[in-house]
Each structure stands twice: as C-alpha cells, then as structure tokens.
C-alpha cells in the first residue's frame, strides 16, 4: 500500500527522486549513498571538490556503461530510471549536458539533432518532424543562442572551441526541450560571454513543469542561474544542503572552511 501512495505523490510534484544511490566504477565505489529529491519547477545545484563523484552521479542517472549501480534507486516522474536504457531515459525527457562534449567526425550537427529529435518523438509515440519543420526549428534555436548557422552543417563538435561546444550543448537542449536537464560542469572553461549563453540556455527552459540539476565546481554560474537549492557532494555523499547562500559561503570560505576535505575519497 505504501508503494502506491508514493507513486501518487510522485505524480503530483516530485520529478526526480534518488535514494541511497551507490555506484561502482572500475571496482571502486564512487557514490556511497546519495539521496536527492527534485520537484517540478526547481533548479538544484551540486557543488563539491574534485573527485567527489559529481560526474559519476550524472553518468549514473543517464545510464552510461561502466557506471554500475550496486544499491539504491532512481525514480523519474514515478518511473524506475535504472530499469531503462540510456535512450529511453532521454525519451522520458532527461538531458545530459556534457562536461566534455564529444566530437563526431562525419556526422553533421543537423543530421545528428534531427535523428535525435525524431528518435525521441518516436519513443513518445509522436510523428517525426519533417525536414522543413526541423530546419525552421533548428534555425530559430540557433539564432536565439547566437550560433552561426554554418556550424549546423559541420560535423558534431569537430573543430569547435570549448565555448562553441558548450553553446552547441545548449542548442541541442533547446531543440530537444527536456523536462529535466542535468548539466555536468557545463560552465567549466568558459569565458564570461559563453557563460552568459549557457546561463541563458538554462533559464529559457525554466518553468513549472521542468527542473534542472546543475553540477558545478564554481559558484559563478549560479550568479546567472539562481538555484532553489544547493548541495555539497563530498566523498560520494551529499554532506550539506541549503539555499543559494550555501554557494556563496563556499565561495568565501572554500570547502575546507566548511569542514569538507578536498579529495576526501
């Protein structure tokens, strides 16, 4: 009976619920019991020292090979995410913004995004987007995010600068319009203009039916995307949670100042 009740609660306001998540990578336990609940409309930020397991958390949620969940659960809109293949998780509305977007020579950005969008639409039982409609859509999104339309014809991320790659992630996110975005250090290595574009991309997708999990090493992105909650991940667990003030404290005092050891693992 309890399970049924839980599911009802999910439908009402919880988008992502992670319970006691343990993840092993190459025989080493990286996440050691993560608990996190994200409700509709919320933006959460996860900060933490290097090696805390931030990227592992995002890969485990999205189902990357080699990230083995040994314990715990992840529910997304009431569905068991860990039961799904990576593409099904994307089809359910999950988007992962990569820390290091991958280069794919020989596949044009355009073809890549159209195939991705149509795959998701098929998964959701919708009709595929026609070539003409897709062209309109992608041109509009590229323009909003200030991307040169010529870059859409080029191979995915090949020869793109760091900032261009991150901008490309934001264009992809805008086209795919996920309900939950997980952004893994999308801000790393960006100058202030690129940072604004990334922030703009995230803010555009804020809304009562959407949520975001921003993983970042630095506080500065949070000046542009103000989170509802901030968590500190260290040694494979969330050790502190608070509001945006926590990020400011971290910025001022550092992890050690808050009693959190760097590279605690």
């Amino acid at each position: 009976m309890k399970e049924v009740l839980d599911k009802t609660t999910f439908k009402e306001n919880v988008m992502l619920e992670i319970k006691n998540l343990h993840v092993v990578v190459e025989d080493k336990e990286i996440l050691k019991g993560v608990n996190l609940t994200i409700k509709n409309g919320e933006v959460h930020a996860i900060m933490g020292p290097n090696g805390a397991g931030k990227s592992t958390l995002s890969y485990a949620i999205c189902g990357k090979d080699g990230y083995e969940v040994t314990k715990g659960s992840v529910f997304y809109n009431g569905k068991d995410l860990l039961d799904m293949d990576p593409h099904e998780r994307a089809g359910e509305g999950l988007f992962l913004g990569f820390q290091y977007p991958v280069e794919i020579p020989g596949v044009s950005n355009m073809n890549f995004l159209r195939t991705a969008l149509n795959s998701q639409r098929r998964y959701q039982g919708e009709d595929e987007v026609s070539a003409v409609d897709f062209l309109k859509l992608i041109r509009a999104r590229a323009k909003e995010l200030d991307m040169d339309p010529e870059m859409l014809k080029r191979s995915v991320n090949v020869g793109f600068s760091g900032g261009e790659k991150k901008r490309n992630e934001m264009v992809q996110m805008a086209v795919l319009a996920p309900s939950m975005a997980i952004l893994d250090e999308t801000d790393s290595g960006l100058d202030i203009d690129a940072l604004r574009i990334v922030a703009d991309g995230i803010n555009r997708l804020r809304g009562p039916d959407r949520a975001a999990l921003i993983i970042t090493h630095y506080q500065r992105l949070l000046d542009y995307v103000v989170p509802d909650f901030v968590h500190v991940l260290a040694n494979g667990r969330i050790v502190k949670s608070g509001t945006k003030d926590l990020a400011l404290q971290l910025e001022a005092k550092g992890y050690a100042g808050l009693g959190i050891a760097e590279n605690a693992a």
């Binding site: 999205c62 189902g63 090979d65 990569f98 977007p101 195939t115 795959s119 795919l176």
Partner: protein, 442 residues
Amino acid sequence: MPLKLYLDNPEIGTKFDAARAGLPGADKDWLSALRRGAMGKFIDRGLPGPKVEEWKYTNLGFLVEFLANENFSARQVTECQAEAKALFEAAYIDNIAGPTVVFVNGHFNGGLSTCPGGAGVKFAVFSENPDVFRQGLTGSEPVSPLNELNRAMARDGYHLDVDAGVTLAQPIQIIHVATSGTEQQSQRMRAQIRLGAGAKARLIESFIGASGVRYWSHLISDVDLAKGAELAHFQFQRQGKQAIHMTEQHSIVAEKAKFSHMSLQLGAEISRTELVNSFTGENAEVELRGAYLGRGRQAHDITTRINHDQPNCQSNQLFRGVLDEGGKSAFQGKVVVAQDAQKTNADQSNKNLLLSRKAEANIKPELLIYADDVKCTHGATVGELDSDQLFYLLSRGMDEITAKSLLVEAFLAEVFDEETDEILRQKFKEKTAGWLNTGGTS
C-alpha cells in the same frame, strides 16, 4: 612451388566438356579451340591453394566441391521472368536516363535491356556476337587459373567500345540478376570496355541475387583506356546471402587517362574483388574507392594491384570495412613502382571497424618501390566504435541501432563523399545506411 588444389575427379573434365558444347559460339572454330585450350590449362594448373600469396585469405577449397557438383541444366529464363524482373527493379537506379543492360542468371536478357548505341558507340553481347570479343580473348599474356576457367566456360558478357572524343552523356547501367533457380550454377561472364582517346564514360554495375541458393557469379573485365580517356566504374554488390561473388578486373591506362572505381560490397557469403591496374603512359591516374560490410558467415576480399611502370602517374586507394559478428574481410593492396617510374604519387588507405569481438579484418599492404623520387603512402587500421561517441548519441535519445548506424555511416562517409554525382552518392549512402537495421544484404 605454390600449392594447388587439384580437381582430381576425372568426371569434372568430362562434364565440363559436355557443357562447353552447349555454350554460345560453340560452332566457331576459334572459340572452340580457345575454350579447349583454356580448360586444359585450368585442369593442369588447378585452383590456387592457400599458399599462393594472392589467395592467402580466401581459401578456394570450397570451389573443388562446387565444381564437382556444378549444375549446368539452367532453367529457361522465361520460367523465372517475374522474379527476375522484381530483382532487376530492386537494383535499377531511377533518375538516371541512361541505357540499361540486364543479364539474368548469366544470360543476356533483351526484354529488360535498352542497350547503348548512337554515334561513336559500339556495343555487343557475347552470346549474340562472340566474334567481337575475339581480339580481347586471344591475348598472349598468361592469366590466372580462374581466368582460364572463365575463358573456357563464359556464356555471356558485354563489349563496349567508345570512339575517340565521344562523351557518353548518361551512365550505362549493367545489372546482373541471379534468381532462386540457380542452386549450384555458375554465371561466368566477360566484359570488355574500351575507350578511345579522350572518350568519357560512366558505368554502373549492379549485382543482385536471391538468397537461399549457392551460385557462383564470376565476372572478368578488361578495361583499356586510350590517351586522355576517362572511365568511372561504380559497383553495387548485393548478391544473395549464400552466393559466391568474384570479379577480376584488368585496367590498362594510357597517358593522361583516368580510371576510377567505386564499389560497395553488401551481399554474398564469399566475395572477392580483384583490381589490377597498369599504366602505359605518363600523367595518368587510377582511383580506387570502396566499402565492404560483412556479418554472419560473410567474407569479403579486396585485392588490388597497381603497376606503376611509368613516371608521373598517380594512384589513390581508399577502402573502408565494417564487420559485425562473424564477418571477415581481407584487404591486400600491392603497389609496384618500377625503377623508371619517377615522380610517382601513390596513396593507399584501408581502415576497418569491428562491431563485434567475433569479427575479423586482415590487412596486407605491399609496397614495392624501385624508384627513388616518389611519394608513396599507406595507412591501415582496425578499430572499434568509440564508446564515448556512442554514449553521446544514446544520451540524446537514439536507440543503440540508430546510434551505431549513424557512426558507421560517418565512418564510411569518406569513401563516397567526394563523388560529385548526387544521385550516385545518395545511392551508396542509402544502401549502407540501412545495413545495421536490416541485418540483411539490401
């Protein structure tokens, strides 16, 4: 001494002698003598064994049995007209308003064909006019044992002769169809393509066949390009899943002439594509490009040879292979640069993608360079799909098959991307695109 596979069954000779009497042109003395002589040489030399370098990766042992059981009682083509027509239509490329020549089970089919013609173009088929082939068949150069067998037993084929200065506006489609009635049968064909000085032609050759039958399609082509001539030869190989497919092509390229080849191997259980190219003048060019995709019991063998006997010539070879569970391939690329062939420019590249641990790619580049002022390169790799690229695509919502297909297409793009004919380029891409989805050969 290379090892031979002897055909020690005396009945084979008798059976082939009887079958020869029923071949087109059997009433012509020159042809009968040629066939008898060629058969004698073939029986004497046997099939090349595994110790023969050129056949290192394709063991012809299976042919001994095939020949012993070869069935010569070909059904009348009228009996399979509907099936032949359906296969022909599957291979035919629309939007190309050129002539079309169709062979069904190794027989020329006039009903489905619209032969090339017009000013400066001579075209003939072997079964109707063997005399046209005489000159090309009676050369004194020694040929391979399989070529001898083909010479002895070829039933049909085509001869194209384009006069100097003539450009064929439309490509010619040659379509070879094998129907489901071809179990244990052979389709032995000859082709002769000659372009006069400055002539230009494009040839699209498609092979398509029914699955579930073991037949042997064997085509030997001789290409002769005079000064400044240009031939572009495209091949789509979509034989049936149990088929044996072999082509052997000899190209002679004169001064300032250009021969280009682009092929796609999708079908057959055993395929062998042999391309032998020789320059007879300076500033000539040979370009060979191809892709082969194999899985299950499929084995593809690409064997090339470029004889750089003249200075200032250029050759480019670019082959890409994709092998899934059980699929095997071999690429043997030999480039011989003679002592006088200075300023030769020869590139060779072969890359293979293995989609399974149970796939196999063999590569044997062989560069023999006797000149001292040349630019010759070769590169060969065998790799797997990049797991980070794959996850990137999966994370965007593509299922595994779609994601892998996209990466395979990207891997093969290099082979086809430089083709300027939009229709052909798309055709090559389209045929490769569905490969992972279908699990078949189409």
